[in-house]
Amino acid sequence: MPVAPAPLRFAVGLVPTGAHDTGAPTSLRDRSLEPRAGVKGPGAPAFLAAHGIVTDGIANRAARHPAGGLVAMLSGTEVLILGAAAAPFADYGSGAPLAPGVYPVPRFGGTYWFSLAGPGAPALLATLCGVDLRPHRFADLAIAQTMIARVSAVIVRDDADGLGFHIVGDITLAPYVADALRKAEGP
């Protein structure tokens, strides 16, 4: 497990980090200490392919990786990697180009990662987000780069363990977003 940068430590612990409560209508979980990474630039697809991550270049679609986790295409040349598949890229925090036209995005230290699961998750998110995230409108592995509670966030639907969504956003907004999600959950 990589050492968490100071801002990340600050944000972790806002919501439970354990497994989802499968019996609850919604279950919020903090996954900010799990690996994630970002790579962008015109050379990113070829760079990732050389590291075993083949992308189809379709923006706003994610794919499950055999090593575990998700590969989320934020644009044709930018990828967000969540979970075990991001582990090989965890050291890419210096900001230096990884190869010509390939740049790291400091997702591990720069973003929070919450996951929201359960049959009530779309209704909860509907109170905070203007995008229609109902299951029949927002397919498994679809991505919405949008706003939650008026601040930017990336939402990825992931039904690997039942209906669920990953929510990734700026680390400095983690306390605010966690509070908004908890309040939306209700008592």
């Binding site: 923006a59 706003n60 934020l74 644009s75 203007g130 995008v131 919405a144 780069q145 949008t146 706003m147 008026r150 930017s152 966030a153 990336v154």
Partner: protein
């Protein structure tokens, strides 16, 4: 809720966007201070159909939209590449 269609992300609440103003002919580098000041600071505020720069904030994505300022109706939106294919003019 007012909805705008982003060429990359699809229909989204208008609060996710910022307007970059009308597309204008860029002066030549040596056009002089008065011409550049007009380009940077003076707007036509035209009543009619205009082409504008728009920005989708969560994705940092710039695109072009055609809007009728009389009705505040967005007629269409397009990527910068599509706008250039149409001639790339204001």
């Amino acid at each position: 809720m007012k909805i705008m269609t982003c060429p990359l992300n699809g229909p989204r609440p208008i609060t996710e966007f910022a307007c970059g103003g009308p597309i204008k002919e860029r002066p030549a580098d040596d056009a002089g201070g008065a011409r550049w000041a007009e380009y940077v600071f003076i707007e036509d505020n035209a009543a009619g159909i205009v082409l504008e720069w728009w920005y989708h904030v969560p994705t940092a994505f710039w695109f072009v939209a055609e809007r009728d300022t009389r009705t505040d109706t967005v007629i269409r939106s397009m990527t910068v590449a599509a706008w250039k294919e149409r001639g790339g003019r204001p």
